[in-house]
């Protein structure tokens, strides 16, 4: 196999492997932001999810129970965020940053005993059985959560566009006044949307500790939750574009290691910065000096 093909396979494999937490967190944030609220605390939720999933998987031997626990932890954090934001004169951005730090701190505190022991991992399957090349097989090693993420992408899209819940969430996010005039409880809808978003972010966290990198330590996330929140803006609040953006980001993240594996070592750190450079380039190319962001829920436009 040529070096070029090797790099491509590395990027494809990376897109599948690395994108999963980005996908879950950005879908969760997308859901929350559609209701007109920003939850910047998902980085904290992600880390809490990673820690709790690892702990439960280690204690019970069931990684899936770990995933569920991570989701529940995310729901709790989402509920806390929403409850704080429903108090008078509370700013959702500030609460988000506070909860991000709180989540990370709490996870580090509770997770101290989990550094070291090995917990059972999530299963995966190979979609590369048709290939003789070990490289292809390893690149197409697909974990169960990635598949779940794909399903969730379409489920979130379906819920938003075709169901009663979705219509209510979008209404609250586009015009709280209109929603109130129709008798909906705006704070409650936002609370539920924030809790659902927290669930997804927590599940995204479980991927980090239970599959890749696959252990619990304090440097596990390194800001992936924050980047995923930014991906939502990049994806202009569309679940399908969240998937595309996550894959793009995952693939770009794998560029450095993929090049290194075929012997290109110069500029390793530069290539590691590829996702950020790419994001910047796309944002600059698609933004405009005097046009507002298309697709942004109207309630997010107002400074509150």
């Amino acid at each position: 196999m040529s070096a070029m093909a090797g790099v491509v396979m590395g990027v494809v494999g990376g897109a599948i492997r690395i994108s999963t937490p980005f996908l879950f967190v950005s879908l969760g944030e997308c859901l929350t932001e559609k209701s007109g609220r920003v939850n910047l605390g998902l980085e904290g939720t992600l880390v809490m999810g990673a820690m709790s999933a690892y702990g439960i998987s280690y204690l019970t031997g069931s990684p899936w129970l770990g995933v569920l626990t991570a989701g529940v932890a995310g729901v709790a954090f989402g509920a806390l965020h929403a409850w704080l934001c429903s108090r008078p004169r509370v700013n959702d951005i500030a609460v988000g940053i506070a909860l991000m730090l709180f989540g990370i701190g709490l996870a580090f505190f509770l997770g101290k005993p989990l550094i070291g022991p090995t917990a059972p991992h999530l299963p995966s399957f190979s979609a590369g059985w048709w290939s003789a090349s070990a490289q292809v097989r390893s690149a197409l090693q697909i974990n169960a959560l990635f598949v779940l993420g794909l399903v969730t992408t379409f489920a979130v899209r379906f819920v938003l566009l075709r169901t009663r819940w979705g219509l209510v969430i979008r209404t609250v996010g586009e015009s709280a006044d209109a929603a109130r005039a129709m008798g909906y409880d705006v704070a409650r809808v936002r609370m539920l949307a924030t809790m659902a978003g927290g669930f997804l972010a927590g599940v995204g966290g479980s991927f980090l500790s239970l599959y890749y990198p696959g252990s619990w330590n304090e440097g596990l996330s390194s800001g992936q939750g924050l980047m995923a929140v930014a991906l939502v803006i990049f994806a202009r609040w569309s679940p399908l574009r969240c998937l595309a953006a996550s894959l793009l980001f995952g693939g770009a993240s794998a560029l450095g290691p993929a090049l290194q594996s075929v012997g290109v070592t110069s500029g390793y750190y530069l290539f590691n910065a590829a996702p950020y450079a790419l994001t910047l380039a796309i944002i600059i190319a698609t933004s405009s000096r005097d046009r507002a962001l298309v697709g942004q829920p109207a309630e997010l436009r107002m400074a509150k």
Binding site: R162, T163, R164, W165, L167, R170, T171, E174, S175, D177, A178, A181, M182, G183, S288, R289, D290, R291, A292, V294, P297, A298
Partner: protein
């Protein structure tokens, strides 16, 4: 107090069956903290009538209907619907009783389609929507209506008149029999307003609806309403049949015994030099769509040019370009012959001053003090600049105190945040800042929007005085009465262009209305 009560139940004598009123509010009171917004107000809405609710801003009209709708809970009093005492705890309860409301600001969701908005307003939804079937059902519903809209069009593509029609369609779609409208025509052209109100009246006369309409436009009340209830300062000020009243009588009920207020005298002036010249101006809106296209306009010294037009036809963007809040995409602006790009230095040298829409948001820093806000134009120059780079806040405060007195700004003092002032006093403070120095061009955009009679009269007088002193005034207003009261010349803006121009002496409301609507 004796109420001018012209309503005597003559019908009851003639017909043996007494039809209970569609809706009756009895002795409603509502306070917010220590402020009484509504005290002991009663209203009778007879079935099959258009009933107008008149009053100045802050008279309690909105509070009254919000209490009826269950938006607020009245402190005392009760509501009965069709003769049956009813407890309405939320707009949902009101909807269940067949009462629907069209709010002053559209409650449509702009990013959604006509069909989605209609479906959304319904109380019951299936868990999963079949949008094809929903759209077909809505198209079938539209067939039976006096006016139609394409169900698949997004609301942000609709004109203001169409949005208002959609709000009314929504109430019919929901099966409301009593519809309350809060200033339904405030964003419409005169002809659109007549069309919408005419359709509503037609449906009332067919017996499909009973309408309660908040308004402050006598013309519409005289033409479309059967009965009227007038509020003043939260109290019932009068009621009667429209046929028995004239605008003067209603105005007296609205403002009480306060003396009539003038708008300031227009002094005859020589034709002045051109101060503002706009050539082929192009500006885009927030979505990047053309808002001002190829606009040409001149304003001379000592004249007020009134820009009439339905809001959203580029007026906002024009003001923003002149105020330096938006970059033009093309064309030139000259002031007294010099090129103008709306920099701070140019505004100072060329003496350009601005009263933008929503002054608290566009002309003030809400959390900064009244004195600081009044000093924005001058704080960095002598005598307020001190030792090169510092601001002499003592001098600023003294300056502010003098202007607070001159302009009658009601404030606890110069040091309180300006956001604590009432709308009228915020506008007075901005006026004090903008007009206390020599002005060659004044740009005023809806300067009296949302203010009470006293503030309106005073602000209009100040604008007229600035004109009499020789300032060129560009007045942008969605209120045609204001333009007719102040302007020397009227320019109609439609679709980003100046489409019609007339001196005030030969201005014709019908012609202006047609140009505003874009067909002429």
């Amino acid at each position: 107090m004796s109420l001018p009560d012209a309503h005597i139940d003559k019908d009851a004598v003639v017909t043996p069956v007494v039809v209970p009123p569609a809706l009756e509010a009895i002795g409603l009171s509502k306070s917010f903290g220590s402020v009484s917004a509504l005290s002991e107000v009663s209203l009778v809405l007879e079935r099959g009538t258009v009933h107008a609710l008149l009053g100045e801003n802050g008279a309690g009209k909105s509070t009254l209907v919000k209490c009826i709708m269950g938006y607020y809970q009245a402190d005392t009093g009760r509501v009965s619907v069709g003769g049956v005492p009813s407890r309405i705890a939320s707009p949902r309860d009101a909807a269940a009783l067949g009462i629907g409301m069209v709010y002053q600001h559209f409650t449509l969701v702009d990013a959604m389609t006509v069909a989605e908005n209609l479906v959304l307003s319904r109380q019951k939804h299936p868990f999963v929507f079949d949008w094809a079937a929903e759209t077909a059902a809505i198209a079938a519903f539209m067939e039976k209506m006096p006016f139609r809209l394409d169900p698949s069009r997004p609301v942000n593509m609709l004109a203001a008149g169409e949005k208002q029609k959609l709000e009314i369609l929504k109430q019919l779609y929901l099966g409301s029999t009593i519809v309350i409208l809060d200033e339904p025509t405030s964003v419409l052209t005169p002809s659109e307003a007549d069309e919408v109100l005419g359709l509503l009246r037609g449906m009332v006369k067919e017996g499909r609806l009973t309408v309660l309409m908040i308004s402050h436009k006598f013309r519409e009340v005289m033409k479309f309403a059967d009965e009227v209830t007038v509020l003043r300062r939260g109290k019932l000020a009068g009621r009667g049949r429209v046929a028995d009243l004239d605008p003067d009588a209603m105005a007296r009920m609205m403002v009480g015994d306060e003396p009539p207020r003038a708008t300031g005298t227009r002094q005859a002036r020589e034709r002045g030099d051109v101060v503002l010249r706009i050539d082929s101006l192009i500006a885009h809106d927030d979505l990047g769509m053309p808002a001002v296209s190829d606009l040409r306009l001149e304003v001379r010294a000592g004249e007020i040019v009134g820009i009439a037009g339905v809001s959203g036809n580029g007026q906002e963007e024009l003001v923003e370009v002149l105020a330096g809040q938006r970059q033009a995409r093309g064309g030139q602006i000259h002031i007294a012959g010099s090129g103008y790009l709306a920099t701070r230095a140019e505004m100072r040298v060329l003496m350009v001053r601005c009263l933008p829409d929503e002054p608290l948001r566009n002309a003030c820093v809400p959390t900064m003090s009244v004195a600081e806000n009044i000093g924005f134009r001058r704080f960095d120059r002598a005598p307020f600049r001190w030792a090169g780079a510092l601001v002499n806040s003592g001098a600023l405060r003294k300056h502010a105190r003098a202007l607070i007195k001159d302009y009658g700004i009601r404030t606890p003092g110069p040091d309180v945040p300006i956001s604590g002032l009432s709308g009228g006093n915020v506008q007075r403070a901005v006026l004090a800042r903008e007009l206390s120095e020599d002005v060659s061009l004044l740009v005023a955009s809806n300067p009296c929007f949302g203010l009470d009679f006293a503030a309106v009269a005073e602000i209009r007088t100040r604008i007229m005085e600035a004109r009499n002193r020789g300032a060129a005034v560009l007045l942008i207003s969605a209120d045609l009465d204001e333009i007719f009261a102040l302007a020397d010349r009227i320019v109609v803006m439609s679709d980003g262009r100046a489409v019609h121009e007339t001196p005030i002496a030969s201005a014709d409301l019908g012609v202006i209305g047609r140009h505003m609507a874009g067909h002429a």
